[in-house]
């Protein structure tokens, strides 16, 4: 069966990521600290305007949005750029290219095991804690289904962007610089650091034409809206689907063109 070879990679990934329990524990502490800082910062911000909702976002909405954005980013960070950059520099990429599977797919599926562990150990606990702490400010209805569909597409778009940026490493041989630029652009323009609802009008219009907002803003706004307008849902998911296809094709094309230029020193 075709799917079986992919799921084998997923299983190997799950086993591998369960090995690193200390690192997982420290990462949880790091995220907790971040959430504490975010909580107090936004509490102070909302206190300065008398706890009124701003641009349709109440304090709880903003908090849920930012906390789940962090949980999602832990979920979606696949270190693809590092992996590709290192493999290109060390020459290991030659072995990966020889595999009977497209490199793009191989990289994705060999990481996919971490999705499973991250989902159960980071995202789900965070989601439950937030839902309880905010006294049911997360609406539990059909929006959950939209959220899940949206996240699946977000993962795909995010991976495509990573893969494109990783391909750039063939040309530049600079991993750190390229990766940090990608991270900054994605986190800011996707609304993961400051929700897009706070962006000034013109900037928000520009950002809504870019693929990044489909990664964090789209799923999170769908989640927070308990009684969504079907047209809005269709529009959001439609735009996401469009970006999934566009970025996938762009990534494939760029990779195919770049592969001819690859130079491997030694091996």
């Amino acid at each position: 069966m075709n799917l079986k070879k992919y799921l084998t990679l997923t299983r190997a990934g799950i086993i591998e990521s369960l090995q690193f329990r200390l690192s997982a524990f420290i990462m949880v502490i790091g995220n907790m600290l971040y959430l504490i800082v975010v909580y107090f910062l936004w509490k102070a911000i909302y206190a300065s305007v008398g706890n009124e909702p701003i641009n349709g976002m109440s304090f709880y909405d903003t908090l849920i949005y930012l906390v789940l954005a962090t949980a999602l980013s832990g979920f979606m960070e696949m270190y693809t750029v590092w992996e590709m950059g290192r493999n290109i520099q060390s020459g290991k990429i030659v072995l990966d290219l020889l595999r009977p599977m497209e490199y793009r797919k191989y990289l994705f599926w060999s990481y996919s095991g971490s999705f499973v562990t991250q989902f159960f150990f980071t995202f789900l606990p965070t989601f439950i804690v937030v839902a309880v702490l905010t006294h049911g400010a997360i609406p539990l209805g059909i929006n959950l289904l939209y959220f899940v569909i949206s996240v699946v597409m977000a993962v795909s778009i995010n991976y495509s962007i990573d893969f494109i940026v990783g391909t750039i490493c063939i040309y530049t041989e600079s991993i750190w610089g390229i990766n940090i630029m990608k991270q900054v652009v994605v986190m800011l323009l996707s609304g993961a650091t400051v929700p897009l609802a706070f962006f000034p009008e013109t900037l928000r219009k520009v950002v809504s034409c870019l693929p990044f907002q489909s990664i964090y803003n789209a799923p999170l706004t769908l989640l927070l809206n308990g009684d969504p307008d079907p047209a809005y849902v269709l529009q959001t998911l439609g735009i996401q689907l469009l970006w999934v296809v566009v970025m996938l094709l762009a990534g494939k094309l760029f990779w195919r063109v770049s592969l001819r230029r690859i130079t491997v020193n030694g091996g």
Binding site: L33, V37, L41, A44, G177, N179, I180, V184, T193, F199
Partner: protein, 266 residues
């Protein structure tokens, strides 16, 4: 083994020249890394700008005061980036056994180890940080006197010791534990929280961020000396001393670990 400061400065200059020569053979990497560094700083700036489009102030702190804090934190975080970047490689040297080569030089071990790498891309952050401080300083209409600038320099340098101390201590954990990268990474993330006024936190976290993880001394306490000259708390005046104490403790901890190091036997 006590040598004069002049001796160490001369050695540092020689090592620095060698390091920069080798870096220059990867020029495109240097340029891209510097741009990347400046991008992160610009993103921080833009986040503040977007926030203050919606809110007049945060906890009594105006836009330009917050920018001043941000600029202060960027500058005081530059030395750890430029001069102590080799801490990131420590666990690799220790693990592979290559660390032993540093133990056989007739100069201070800590000095020799840290001097080996100078991370040039930190200079982009320095320039951006100074620019931000000057901009905020001008917009706030703070007086420009020799005394103010002297104070600023002294407090910036001593504030930079805090993050250096935290990083030294985190890096030195590799002498005892295997997965020390995550400890270092965790501590490195603390620096992102230095740009906020400590007063936004609840008393418990104010205590933690002041005495246990002293990030409040990276920007908040020292910059009060310049920003709010009428109501300077005691901790602000003490911040240079605290910087020195934390640096000294981390140095001792680092050296203690290094002295315990027995190599890998190969």
């Amino acid at each position: 083994m006590h040598r004069s400061i002049g001796f160490y400065l001369r050695i540092y200059g020689k090592i620095l020249v060698q390091d920069i020569k080798s870096k220059m053979s990867y020029r495109s990497d240097f340029i891209i890394s510097t741009i990347g560094m400046i991008c992160t700083n610009i993103a921080g700036f833009v986040s503040f700008w977007i926030l203050f489009q919606n809110f007049p102030s945060v906890d009594g702190w105006s836009y330009y005061e917050m920018l001043f804090l941000y600029g202060f934190s960027l500058v005081s975080l530059t030395p750890v980036q430029c001069l102590f970047d080799n801490n990131w490689s420590l666990r690799i040297y220790v693990y592979s056994g290559d660390f032993i080569k540093y133990c056989f030089r007739p100069i201070n071990l800590f000095f020799y180890y840290q001097s080996e790498i100078f991370d040039i891309k930190g200079l982009g952050q320095l320039a951006f940080g100074i620019g931000t401080i000057v901009y905020a300083w001008a917009k706030l209409g703070l007086p420009v006197t020799v005394l103010m600038i002297l104070k600023m320099i002294v407090f910036l340098i001593t504030a930079s010791l805090i993050m250096i101390a935290l990083q030294n201590a985190a890096a030195a954990t590799c002498f005892w534990i295997q997965n020390s990268f995550y400890v270092l990474d965790l501590v490195f993330r603390f620096k992102d929280y230095a740009k906020y006024p400590i007063t936004i936190f609840s008393p418990v976290f104010r205590f933690i961020f002041t005495f246990l993880m002293p990030i409040a001394f990276i920007a908040y306490y020292p910059s009060l000396v310049i920003l709010r000259p009428d109501e300077i708390p005691l901790l602000s005046w003490l911040s240079p001393v605290i910087g020195l104490v934390f640096f000294f403790l981390s140095y001792k901890f680092w050296m203690y670990g290094a002295m315990k190091y027995s190599g890998t036997g190969s």
